[in-house]
Symmetry: D2
Subunit: 285 residues, 4 copies
């Protein structure tokens, strides 16, 4: 029912006439703009834009877009990418023992809410194997130790490539990925951290939150970079707690936050609504 | 520091090429678009757009804009308006006895947060007179009874016109305005209702909420129309309550909601971020 | 790990010395109070109390409690009940076609989060049959038409009794129960309504919310009474939406609210934290 | 209208029979308990209780309470205090240049919402002098430099004692108090920090939040201890922001959070609803 679109994402130094130029370019190829968002970061003079163009009638396609667009983009020194909504994104999920985020993503996927395919789940444990296989999804058990991490990451990349995965979701995956691995998927690995970052980065955030006596807990979804829990934040949410909440209650309540926030981040990513710049995100939602 | 801009608000039937056309028009007059938002209501095929253009360098101004833009607008059957950010909006406030919303608006205005002038406060009581006069603002006492309502509304309109008021804010004004009065200020009278509309429309909503035993209370800011508490909603907010909250607690907690929601609605209006269509608002924030 | 407790729920006219009397009674039988909450409704002079007593060392049990407590309770004209945490509550779920609330409850139950057993799911459709059976839970298909409603409700009650169900959860069950059925389970049928009640009671609340142009949607869990969507509210939650949200978006976002709110209500019920009085709830959480 | 009460706050090691003992003690002196809350920290075995007793009919008063209660309290090794609601708390406010939190407290105080007296405002600047004097409140200008801090704090304490101040509220007071000063008012100095602690402790939290690209900002009210921004947290609140919010927007939106959170903390304190233990608060609300 929803019409297929091309989604054009642009960042460049701000300049006069960019929007008019982009709109004229699209009109020239008979595209109909169904959504257009832009933002200027006044501090750095960065310009960001997201344009969604109906494919129906548009004379550009994956084959000829770059050729036509390239010279125009160069004039404004644009970093850009284009995504085609009729080419469904392929999500690979990494999980450890805890299943709530995985389960939630699978449930949304089954309900047609996720707008993506899930061809592969990789885990360093076998706890979630049955859930995954019951959904008809490939499950790969890749246990990781400090000794075999390098070769296991090579194995993971092999599996991801075989499954043509576009974006990796760490659904409470408790292993730290190496910088080498991360470099393969820039702004394409989404993590959920079970705290309101930058508070309580690192291990056992609910224990730390309990210890500090906070009155609100949070969850944060972000792109993974070399620096642990420090990548560009995509989505966050918080929830009130009080002195009656023991650590187990924080963990229980937090699970709901984590599920919501991760699902929101994945949805934004597969709909090509996120631009990254200077370790921050611009989310056109 | 913020640069002056023209804010162009457009509604029309959706059609191919509107955005490109608008952008080209603005480029033709050497305008720089600093913000552009659009929205299509897929149900009715309505197109909405808000464009903000830097005045610096723009060859159109309040004197020549309509002449240049009119023919283009006609082509797309646009309803449109243009506002100039260097012409500060003038807000007239109506209040009865309760001062919290008035106070809050005055406080924001004094702090430079409101982006508007407040030349006039009209009240059917004298309770808020001192607060208003202390701010150096004209206060007019216009008591209203069922018998004198027509003539008092005439008096109010006279005062509003003398003070060159652009938009009226009912900051807990407890009189119902006549359709004749409302017709003078279409989508230019902002009310705050102390419930989550459409729940608990009418009188004494906190009492009704208490009686019903709701676990959340709310506040709603909307444009005033002929139908009581039924105009286009601009902003809403809610707050958790529980069985320990007596009616007085709901009233107390609700005051904070009302202040926030009304301030938000007024701010959106004076920044020309609201379009109204089919008794609903499109808020480009 | 959590110690077993007796949960004593009391409502009566307020009077001097109730708390002291209750505490003395429990001390007399060597009970250790691990939690005690009370509330006085000052409007009606109603007193409410919830006391949780460790079973370890307590000289009263399901066999002798009523005999000992009865005379004391009578002195204060108490309505009271006592629940024993080591007797796990049995939840029967009713569902129609939409599975999200059912799924969520099953997921929490499997994760040990629900503190209850789920021996039976009844549905007027077969859509959720596989999900239920995969969890090893009895699924009964009881299709309902206007003609056969009476006999099918008799069938439902038979099944509920056979499964020793204590509380019924309507997890988006789209049939209205008859007053006769409801009378069998006073304050023991929990419904989820997909709006912020009392706004948008009845059918298709998301459509109504969209039509009205609200800026916040909600979900409400309540006990079922004879009057549709009018029973005592247990829990509510809300979520911001805007003009970009089509009806489908409201439905999608609302699903998350519904899941959360229903799960919260069921949890409160099975932990015996809810008292009902005058069509309102006192929730001791 | 509200009846006067004694508010008894207790912390001690958990033990059998405390609640019954307390209730019996109060009954012995013909007190009527109108509210009773308790909490056990299962990790440390700490017991906390707050009991509110109607003064009407109660045979204990500020003169004879300690004598009667002392021996009982000793038996359970209680730390305890008793507050009398008919002895209104006296709040001293410290402020620097920014007036929003001060203003908000004054506004609530004038509206009868605060349940306290405000006899004194101390500031290291003169910006807020007029606001304070207009309310008929004593304003003292006590400028502080690194050199004169010790003597100026001595002066402040003198003023606070002369005004019989019970609790100090730092309403965006930008000076760090010395440990010597803090030691004079243990758990009686309430600060508002403009971030979601422990994130962004220290200076310029909105700038830090902007830099990090968080999607939610917060405010935290806490008791002041020797360690900067690390005292027991009383109340927190958060608010969604996005990439369009410049630092000035965070500051503007944050002001509303700060006002709400500080007012809430002050209200809880003056109603004797907060117990402090192990650098955390138990808030009986």
């Amino acid at each position: 029912m929803t019409k297929s679109t091309a989604r054009l994402l642009i960042s460049c130094p701000d300049a006069k006439g960019i929007i008019a130029g982009v709109a004229a370019f699209i009109a020239q190829y008979e595209g109909n703009i169904v959504e257009a968002d832009q933002h200027v970061d006044p501090e750095h003079g960065d310009f960001f834009m997201r344009v969604e163009i109906e494919l129906d009638g548009f004379r550009l396609n994956p084959g000829n877009f770059a050729g036509a667009w390239g010279p125009f983009a160069e004039r404004f020194a644009m970093r850009w990418s284009v995504e085609w909504s009729n080419i469904t994104k392929r999500v690979g999920i990494f999980v450890s023992k805890q299943s709530h985020c995985l389960n939630d993503l699978l449930w949304r996927w089954q309900g047609g809410e996720l707008d993506a395919e899930i061809p592969l789940v990789i885990s360093n444990h076998r706890d979630c194997e049955a859930i995954v296989r019951n959904c008809g999804i490939e499950f790969q058990h890749v246990p990781v130790t400090p000794e075999n991490k390098a070769e296991q990451e090579a194995r993971q990349i092999e599996l991801l490539e075989a499954a043509k995965v576009d974006v990796i979701v760490l659904a409470r995956y408790m292993q730290v990925l190496t910088p080498e691995f991360v470099a393969q998927y820039p702004n394409r690995i989404i993590n959920i951290h079970h705290s309101f970052l930058p508070a309580f980065a690192g291990r056992r955030p609910y224990h730390a939150a309990y210890e500090r006596g906070v009155k609100i807990i949070g969850a944060t979804s972000h792109y993974v970079t070399d620096r642990l829990d420090d990548g560009p934040i995509i989505a966050q949410a918080t929830l009130a707690v009080d002195h009656r909440d023991a650590i187990d209650d924080l963990i229980r309540k937090g699970r709901d936050l984590e599920r919501m926030v991760l699902a929101r981040a994945v949805r934004l990513h597969v709909q090509d609504k996120i631009l990254v710049s200077r370790n921050k995100t611009v989310v056109f939602d």
